[in-house]
Symmetry: C2
Subunit: 368 residues, 2 copies
């Protein structure tokens, strides 16, 4: 008889009161206020505040003193309008609250913040139409650049070219398309697939399966190809029946595991392109009574936080998203700092990091 609280009720206290109009409201001090107070021109004030060497130090000090006293704050909108640079960048991701993406965002923010940039976040919910919209409104807002991971449904490129046409820089991370003039930061998915598979082989596995995502997406294709290469390089033959395309979910993983287990000969390992699928498979196989890692090894992908918290921690590929974000930010900064006439197109491919945990480790028990 657990008491489950009613999800929809909440308590509200509300107070409304009139403004005592002592509030400065719209009364932010401007350079004109300062100029009036000091009997000098606004131009001089502006130059003084910007440390223009043409201004005498006497005047400069007066201006700074007055600015401080009057609590002057630069209106960045006005400045942005004049300079054409808003010091804002946009980041577009499928969903903000996915660990991978939020970590990248964190990386970008931490790298760009000290340079005076603010970071505007948008979500596409994996819809190309929303993606197009978001790009449009970001451009309308005069961002100085856009960082993005394309949605799964994206199959056109006009909206990206539009960004370039406006002279803003565009940086793809993780999920990218190859467009001239667009930089990108991704991990080496091929290598990741190769490493994970090679690791499974090193554990003595011979019949290694693969759970892939949509092979039309570059990232899944590359992971898949890395897997194939590792098998071939190690003299194992590729069994097409061992390769399943699944959604990235626990249920899909469980189903895929069941499907695998009906094959003959049964596989003895799987390299999953998703941690969720890997988890589902583990749960399902345990139910059937399969011993992991003794009878079956498994590796996931993304190093989702939960992989290391499990009772049976899951081997996974870390995409170093924080680092990916920081590097994407650096690429952007190089671009805006370079002479306007030069477009720098930089393709950065990061090395993935394989985190070996108990789900695939037959030897010593590592507990990462």
């Amino acid at each position: 008889m657990q008491k489950i609280p009613n999800f929809d009720t909440f308590v509200v206290q509300q107070v409304a009161y009139l403004h005592k109009n002592l509030m400065t409201k719209k009364g932010n001090t401007t350079i004109y206020d300062i100029s009036k107070k000091l009997n000098i021109s606004a131009a001089t004030v502006s130059r003084a505040l910007n440390n223009n060497p043409k201004i005498s130090s006497k005047t400069r000090e007066l201006v700074f003193a007055a600015a401080k006293e009057m609590n002057y704050k630069q209106n960045r909108l006005a400045q942005a309008l004049k300079s054409g640079k808003s010091k804002n960048v946009g980041i577009i991701v499928p969903y903000i609250n996915r660990n991978f993406f939020s970590s990248i965002i964190r990386g970008i923010e931490e790298e760009l913040g000290p340079h005076g940039y603010h970071v505007i976040i948008c979500q596409t919910h994996e819809q190309m139409s929303t993606e197009v919209e978001q790009i449009t409104t970001l451009l309308d807002t005069q961002v100085d650049g856009i960082f993005m991971s394309i949605s799964k449904t994206t199959n056109k490129t006009e909206h990206f070219r539009k960004v370039l046409k406006e002279g803003k820089s565009l940086v793809f991370f993780d999920r990218k398309l190859d467009i001239p003039g667009v930089s990108s930061v991704v991990i080496d998915d091929f290598k990741a697939g190769y490493l994970a598979t090679e690791h499974l082989i090193s554990q003595g596995c011979k019949r290694i399966a693969h759970f892939s995502g949509d092979l039309n997406l570059e990232i899944y294709k590359n992971r898949h190809d890395g897997y194939i290469s590792a098998l071939e390089d190690n003299g194992l033959k590729v069994n097409p029946n061992y390769i399943l395309t699944t959604l990235s979910s626990i249920e899909a993983g469980a189903a895929a595991a069941r499907e695998l287990w009906e094959l003959e000969p049964k596989p003895d390992a799987v390299f999953s392109a998703s941690d969720y699928t890997a988890l589902g498979a583990i749960q399902e196989l345990k139910k059937i009574g399969v011993k992991i890692p003794e009878d079956f090894c498994i590796s996931g992908f993304s190093n989702e936080p939960f992989t290391k918290y499990m009772e049976l921690p899951i081997t996974s590929v870390d995409q170093t998203p924080l680092r990916m974000g920081k590097i994407a930010a650096q690429v952007f900064l190089e671009q805006v700092d370079s002479t306007e006439k030069l477009t720098i197109e930089k393709k950065v491919v990061l090395d993935p990091e394989l985190i070996i945990r108990n789900s695939s480790n037959k030897g010593l028990k590592i507990n990462a």
Copy 2:
């Protein structure tokens, strides 16, 4: 002999090329361009685009056609400068890549996006000094409002009052301070503590411990008080030795569990104010050989994603962050929509949702 790739190497391809200056660059069409083309004044163009009823439909159509043809985009900076409203809001959180916060951000974004607002993200890293800075720069950027969860080290309120002085609205979520004029959206931590504890009691537990966070923080204090109340209401006496203040980490949880286990009589349950602490405790107790939930029940807090993926899924309190974000956004919207002269101060307290899982369920095995 696992091959661990070198973390620091990455491949870069770089191409730099000169702009073919066919790019419009700085050549965004403005209302002036349209006015010139149609031989009418910019004012008319502006009015037409804003559907001002004073404009004849003939002219309006001409303007719209020309706008479309010339690919006109409104310069939102200019508009923001004129109107004083940037249609940007700031969100300040300790870290973006914490599931709880990123989910709130998602909620805010999804609610505000359709109203034309963009969301700017800042992190404090739990430092009050950074918090102050972030608020300052957000105000400089002319955001229309600020959403925030205060950092753990915050002990001053001037920077918050500054926001109000500028006539911008401020909305706290989760971690708040009581400041007149500031709205807030929080969950009922007292009730959450009460519910979780009551649930443990309903499972037959008599000696219930509590892992708390810093009791100077309102949220932990309230959870603690709810815990106490539930005990008292059910005729159980409070044992101060059972109440431990810990950091929110797996290690701290393990240590706390060890500490508990040295007490006599040993507790038979714990209500932890953190999922990480709960997880650490579970891992430690399992090592000692304690059977969960048979011998010991445990409830965490926050409904972190991992809690439901565990082999032994962990009972936890869901703070409905997505919903919290959406409601915070609604509170903000009400505020900006209201006549400028009225300040609405709204305190919303959401009901928490207790998610009962196996870590505390002696009866039927629920697998949420």
